[in-house]
Amino acid sequence: MASPLPPYASPLQIFWYYAFRVICGLIFFFLVFPILTIIPLSFNAQDFFTFTPEMLRLDPAGYSFKHYIDFFTNPDWQQALRNSFLIAPMATILATALGTLAAIGLSQSHVPARSAIMAILISPMIVPLIISAAGMYFFYARLGLQGTYWGVVLAHAALGTPFVIITVTATLVGFDRSLTRAAASMGADPVTTFFKVQMPLILPGVISGALFAFITSFDEVVVIIFLGSAEQQTLPWQMFTGLREQISPTILAVATIMVALSILLLGTLEYIRRRSERMRGLSPS
């Protein structure tokens, strides 16, 4: 089906060829249209969650930036935005630093109990969030970390590390160990070797791991609902409360901004992937 239809194709085959593409088109529509719908809706001049007749007539009066203005002036949303950008970067730094080191350790040839360690390190990704949230809520409360900034950062860092491990391990699979040996043979000490030789090569993996860790924290809502207090309210949390209580379409403006953010992240990742494949001598695809 990849190539255009051969000349001898039967009518049924021709029909099926197009029908299949129509079906796929519909599925892609299903995938993308919910996200695309909220973008125009966020410019609604009314406080409705649906298209007004003015909007459908493309009347400029039906559109406005009021929800965006609300987002940027409302202290609740601003506090949430600030919190999100205070928590996510710190969790990302922690997760990336620890995760990268561990991934390098795991890639060495003689690691005792490797699969058991791997299972433990990956576990935060597998355990359902509600269970992590419950466990952390009880435990962190005992330590006095519940409702504190650092409690949330630690929890988010733990949730983000598996992604760092996976992405960095993936780049290390193709890593040529003789490069570090070459550096060592020319007199570089291990630290220099790491920063001058190994790090630049695995950097794409580290960066994409960091992006994953960032988005994990930035997007996380279950754990923080239980673990955080009102002072740590983040954007997703604020959206969650807003959706539950149906307060205002400002949520749609926030959602649009977050879609833009994810497109930015996706673009960065794609760029890094291609660059990394070029650097490692694989043909970029």
């Binding site: 995938l31 919910p34 360690i117 355990v127 359902p128 733990a158 590390t161 993936a170």
Partner: protein, 564 residues
């Protein structure tokens, strides 16, 4: 390692047949050492994260599992009663003997002062409704039990109002261990954690413990509570009523002659007290409790106490599967009262539906992507990854906007006159809403593994089948499809694992019929505060996920998890 190998060959010292390194140590040993060092180094790299994950993630999970069987609240709140219950012969009587009620009085008095009795009531209310009000109501009455004892002692022996008198009366050597035990018990009940090294400022003598056992115990409780909770000096306060009640009981039980172990002035005060008490009928604690609430003499109440007096319980797990281990042994609740089994089945059933939907929708997409030009496939991949990278809440909001009764889809259907305004479809706050939204959210997790498997299937397989006369369908079904089964397995398990633990989306679009077990867990943590049950439900869910993950690991391997 390699340098040791190279130099070791050249410098081998002769003739014993052992290969040696440059410094003359056998090469084998040097290699073993190098290997050990390498192992240590890799472990040192892993250790910080391992330590971090264990501390911040695994211990909390372990703590939760512990909480699902832990049941120390009964023993911690009414310790003496629990000990006494051990001697209760359930065959002989429906309710425990008077001694148990007496122990309960002293235990409960301390617990009421520490305001912890309501907690115990709340905990036991999960097992038997009415327990919460039983504890609350009795807690209010407790101060007035045996009022006449207290009054008689205070009138006949005014010295007893003086804290310093008590300190000298109870004081002495040999009661250190006794006092320490009471201190631990009271501190546990009142949940005091700070300032525990403050000196008590009073002692209890061996003589007092032997002669006035109830009083010693009650006085120790009061003293410890006064020092740590009220932060007052014992010598400046009058003990609470329970101490007087205890003293009255002790004085009734002893002979005046025995009081001679005390100093003359103390013995005189106590003798006055004892004489005054003769006019008052001895206490009947069972009757007092019954007067507060008739439930105290219900056998059911005490069965619950006995059942939950051990430190660990499987009770939460039984509740979590709607079972009950009553007198008749293990049994399931009547069909119409089962909540959790139904919820588990619904969670699994809906997760299965979602998994099947993602497979049905994801398979054609993955097929199309693996059968077009690389550049087109990359473009399509971006369409798949965009929802993958978009915030979960954004996608859930989008579905809320679309599916509402006044939402985009309904408006559209009304607009094209497919339905009229009154016949708007209910697509949200029910199971349908959850299934649609979650299928959308989890679809990328199905497409990605399917796509990576399909990419590796050589097109020559299908060509070979066709060249041997298979038609399109047979070639697909008999040759291509079986090759994609690993991808289907990986994708299906991944989607199922993710779906079964979902919380946010069902909470927002599921209404009451479309919620999952996670939502119930959240409810028990934040609203009903039945943490033990939440933990038990969580443990069952966790077990389910781990079993599935084990399968996933066998099929795909955790090392092969790919992200986008």
């Amino acid at each position: 390692m390699s340098s040791a190998q190279l130099t070791g060959m050249d410098m081998a010292t002769p003739d014993d047949g052992v290969m040696r390194a440059a410094d003359g140590t056998p090469l084998k040993r040097r290699l073993a050492r190098a290997l050990r060092r390498e192992k240590l180094r890799s472990f040192m790299l892993i250790a910080p994260l391992l330590f971090f994950i264990i501390l911040s993630f695994l211990l909390p999970i372990a703590d939760m599992l512990f909480r699902s069987v832990e049941n120390q609240i009964v023993e911690n709140t009414i310790p003496r009663t629990v000990v006494d219950l051990g001697q209760w012969d359930t065959e002989q009587s429906d309710v425990p003997p008077e001694s148990t009620f007496e122990a309960l009085y002293y235990d409960l008095f301390t617990a009421v002062e520490a305001r912890r009795h309501t907690r115990l009531g709340q905990r036991l209310n999960y097992e038997l409704s009415g327990m919460s009000s039983l504890f609350r109501g009795t807690g209010r009455d407790l101060d007035n039990y045996r009022e006449d004892d207290v009054k008689a002692l205070e009138d006949a022996a005014p010295a007893l109002d003086d804290g310093a008198f008590w300190v000298s009366m109870m004081g002495g050597d040999g009661g250190g261990a006794f006092l320490e035990r009471r201190k631990q018990a009271v501190v546990t009940v009142a949940d005091i954690r700070e300032g525990l090294d403050t000196p008590l400022g009073f002692t209890i003598g061996k003589g007092a413990i032997d002669l006035l056992p109830r009083t010693s115990s009650a006085y120790a409780d009061w003293g410890v509570f006064t020092v740590f909770a009220d932060e007052d000096a014992v010598a400046e306060e009058t003990p609470w009523e329970a101490v007087f009640v205890a003293l009255a009981s002790d004085l009734r039980a002893l002979d005046v002659a025995e009081l001679s172990v005390f100093d003359a002035d103390i013995a005189e005060v106590l003798t006055d007290g004892k004489i005054a008490l003769e006019a008052i009928t001895p206490p009947d604690f069972a009757a007092l409790f019954e007067a507060s609430d008739a439930d105290w003499v219900e056998p059911e109440t005490w069965r619950i106490f006995e059942k939950f007096s051990s430190r660990f319980t499987g009770g939460y797990y039984l509740s979590a599967i709607d079972a009950d281990s009553a007198a008749e042994g293990f049994q399931l609740m009547p069909e119409d009262e089962r909540i959790y089994i139904k919820l588990f089945i619904r969670t699994i059933w809906m997760s299965l539906l979602i998994t099947v939907s993602t497979l049905v929708l994801g398979y054609p997409i993955a097929y199309l992507m693996s059968h077009t030009k690389r550049s087109t496939a990359n473009l399509l991949m971006i369409l798949v990854l965009l929802p993958f990278w978009t915030s979960l809440l954004v996608r859930t909001s989008a579905w809320k906007v679309l599916l509402q009764q006044q939402g985009v889809i309904n408006d559209f259907l009304v607009w094209i006159n497919l339905i009229d305004d009154a016949g708007r479809l209910v697509m949200i706050n029910n199971q349908l809403g959850t299934i649609i939204a979650m299928t959308h959210i989890l679809l990328p997790f199905m497409i990605l593994p399917l796509y990576s498997v399909m990419q590796t299937i050589s097109p020559s397989y299908v060509r070979a089948a066709k060249s041997m006369g298979a038609n399109d369908w047979t070639a697909f079904w008999r040759v291509y499809f079986p090759n994609t089964i690993p991808g289907i397995g990986a994708g299906a398990i991944l989607v199922f694992i993710l779906a079964i633990g979902y919380y946010i989306t069902p909470e927002l679009v599921g209404g009451t019929q479309g919620v999952f077990i996670s939502n119930r867990i959240a409810f028990h943590i934040s609203s009903s505060l039945n943490w033990g049950l939440a933990a038990a439900l969580g443990a069952i869910l966790l077990l389910l996920v781990l079993v599935l993950f084990y399968c996933y690991d066998k099929i795909v391997g955790i090392d092969n998890v790919k992200l986008g």
